[in-house]
Subunit: 435 residues, 2 copies
């Protein structure tokens, strides 16, 4: 094939919030009306630009995005409309995708947040009382989202692999929901990130209470995927809160790796895989070194009995980077350390900080001049293995819409340190050419 098979490890989807009403257990209608009132109060009519932590999101990044023809032509409606979505995927060269909640379109928070803080807001896996939402209510929100998502995926199951969302407070119920959602067509488990402020032992992933989750995911061949949204810490209305959040929300997302690793989850479940999505990738080389160092230095007999292999060896088989922005050229240059099979490209469609609608220019900057076989792995071939996509069904799609191999043969015009400017700098993007 002279085109690349491209799979995005990081995409988002969700309908206008009111759509969830029809997917929700009717017993929770009163809570749903309250939820809608809260959304409307938080986002006055006519406010389109999204806010984050009480501030306008970084404006030039968003302005660049909103000025794009494709966004103006309604491509972001692909957040909930599968026909528009597949048109955009085709134009972007993306054959298939992993789907998370919270599309965060310019239409703001009235679009796409699952009700009752299910989904990406269910960080900490705290179960009862998480996010101040009663457990059964949050649970109802997650089920409504899963039902809606399964319907979207059913439009073209080969291209859309949806992440099951379920709060982990009641493990038996979660296992039941996972089995049911798998039958309905979802094929990945969203594992909520730990918060920085998580102090409940039962929320930490080395706790044995999660064992039935690992069991069912291994049995059903569901990879675990995590995606940060909140760090779990309130930095107050103080200068510095946004970049402090920016560093801590990623580290909170990396945390899951060492709880699973040292908890022995991968030793007991040799088929289980775990992807840390949209939390960078440049952190991995040092972390792999440090985790090995702790292992080698410990001389703790019981640790070596439980984990006969070095942490970096478990990583090679079980740990993956979902390499959507801010991952970029740095991670590609470090691929021999991170593992060329452990880097899974992502677009973050339809988020404005993602690569859409410029994914092919961004790929050129990220992969230009890298050996084709390596690029094939990072752009999609590893994702086929990790997430269990059907290569035969995707091949004809990639033949039709995948970026030609020749497109990324020239060396990248963008150095790792300048890669980030592509977010904000139309001129830098223009240098990469239209496509």
């Amino acid at each position: 094939m002279d085109r690349y098979l491209v799979i995005s490890s990081d995409c988002h989807t969700g309908p206008p919030a009111e759509v969830f009403r029809d997917y929700l257990d009717p017993n929770y209608r009163p809570q749903f009306e309250d939820f809608m009132d809260e959304l409307r109060a938080a986002q006055p009519q006519g406010t389109l630009k999204s806010k984050f932590m009480g501030q306008d999101r970084s404006s030039s990044m968003q302005d660049t995005f909103l000025a794009s023809d494709r966004v103006k032509e309604g491509g972001q409606e692909g957040a909930w409309d599968p026909v528009v979505r597949e048109r955009e995927m085709d134009q972007d060269g993306v054959a298939a995708e992993i789907l998370f909640p919270v599309p965060q379109t310019p239409k703001g928070i009235t679009h796409g947040f699952p009700p009752f803080k299910a989904g990406l807001m269910a960080y900490c896996a705290d179960g009862p009382g998480a996010c101040n939402v009663p457990y059964d209510v949050q649970w109802a929100g997650a089920q409504a989202y899963n039902r809606w998502l399964a319907e979207l995926c059913s439009h073209n199951p080969a291209r859309h692999h949806g992440a099951i969302n379920c709060p982990m407070g009641d493990i038996e119920a979660a296992v039941g929901e996972i089995r049911q959602a798998r039958k309905a067509g979802l094929s990945v488990l969203h594992l909520p990130t730990l918060g920085w402020a998580t102090t409940e032992l039962e929320s930490m992933y080395h706790h044995p209470r999660f064992e039935p989750i690992w069991d069912v995911c291994e049995e059903l061949e569901l990879p675990l995927v995590s995606h940060p949204l909140l760090s779990g810490v309130d930095y107050g209305e103080l200068p510095g809160k946004l970049p402090i959040y920016g560093i801590e929300v990623f580290t909170a997302a990396h945390r899951t790796w060492w709880f699973l690793l040292y908890g022995g989850v991968f030793e007991r479940h040799p088929k289980l895989k775990f992807v840390i999505t949209e939390a960078g990738g440049g952190w991995a080389p040092y972390m792999l070194w440090r985790l090995d160092e702790l292992y080698e230095g410990a001389k703790d007999t019981s640790l070596r009995q439980r984990l006969p292999r070095k942490p970096s060896e478990y990583w090679a088989d079980h740990g993956f980077i979902g390499a959507s922005p801010p991952a970029g050229r740095l991670e590609v240059e470090q691929r021999d350390v991170i593992g060329v099979r452990n880097i899974l490209w992502g677009s973050d469609y339809p988020h404005f900080e993602g690569t859409w609608p410029y994914s092919r220019q961004r790929m050129k900057a990220m992969f230009g001049g890298i050996p084709v076989e390596d690029v094939r792995l990072m752009l999609g071939e590893s994702a086929v293995e990790v997430y269990g996509f059907d290569r035969e069904k995707l091949a004809p799609i990639a033949e039709r819409i995948g970026p030609p191999v020749s497109e990324f043969k020239d060396p990248s015009p963008v150095e790792a340190k300048d890669f980030l400017r592509l977010w904000t700098d139309q001129e830098a993007l223009a240098k990469l050419g239209k496509r």
Copy 2:
């Protein structure tokens, strides 16, 4: 000078706990007797090997240490005896040192923990209620420790720079204690690390309530130093708890950097310096990259107004690695990125995971074959600047006891990945030869 001036950025000191009785405000005698009872209960007589988080510390590392002639000959009594201490420093080639609490000798916790969880256990800077000790009681413990420490330093102030310990709950009182301890001869401020689980906004270092601390430290030319001990999270009695602690306690210690940085502390206090001690160093290259990335990507006008320079530029002038173990060859090889002036060697004397009594062999492995001018900076010359040592007073000491420059001229026989084995592997150490 054909010898190196060596300064250890990380040493520990403290007397047998009962000694503190005489340094304590007599109003707190009843609490002190309770404290002594607790220590004795926690460490049955005859138990010499230290425990940590309920488990024996990694045994081969400690066995190697305890088998050393210098330890058997009582060199660890230098934890509280300045005559023994200086003899050991001389034999180790160390001219001067920064002093933290908690010497953690094989005599266990009845030796050297400041009373009432002051010192390194006052993590989180939580003030009232920190560690379940009433604020005034913890405060009394810190003062007792500071008095004892000032006396030790007075034995030879050019060689011993002691870190002031004071809880930060009451800022005005802390400023008073800092002024008083400075007059008494202490010259560094121990800034407690943040815990992972710190959620009180007033405990986070971007909070404006700390401004008088930064003011007084800049005025008195006191560098800020932090040193991890606890991560602030209880991982339960579960497999994996020790290595999970091992990774998180370091990251919790790194945290302070981005709170100070993005809080604008160094922009407002151009003379202030901050050292992250004994928390590795290999983490710094990625972190510097990521903090710049957040800065460059933010396009937040107010951020750039508050911080006109890039994070990595603030690091160059204000951020330092106290490079005691586990820092080693990796950090030295990354010195162009971390900054050769930003790496300050440390021995961790008298901790068994430190380099004493093999500091000179360890230096050979860490610095062998590196240009002499770089080694001079990392071993002591930068420390003179950062901590304000008196070079003229130290020069004759270094002339007498410093390692000859010729000693480290051959390439290191130890690769970065094997450096850690020196902790546990007598054979590897033997290869480095008797100094």
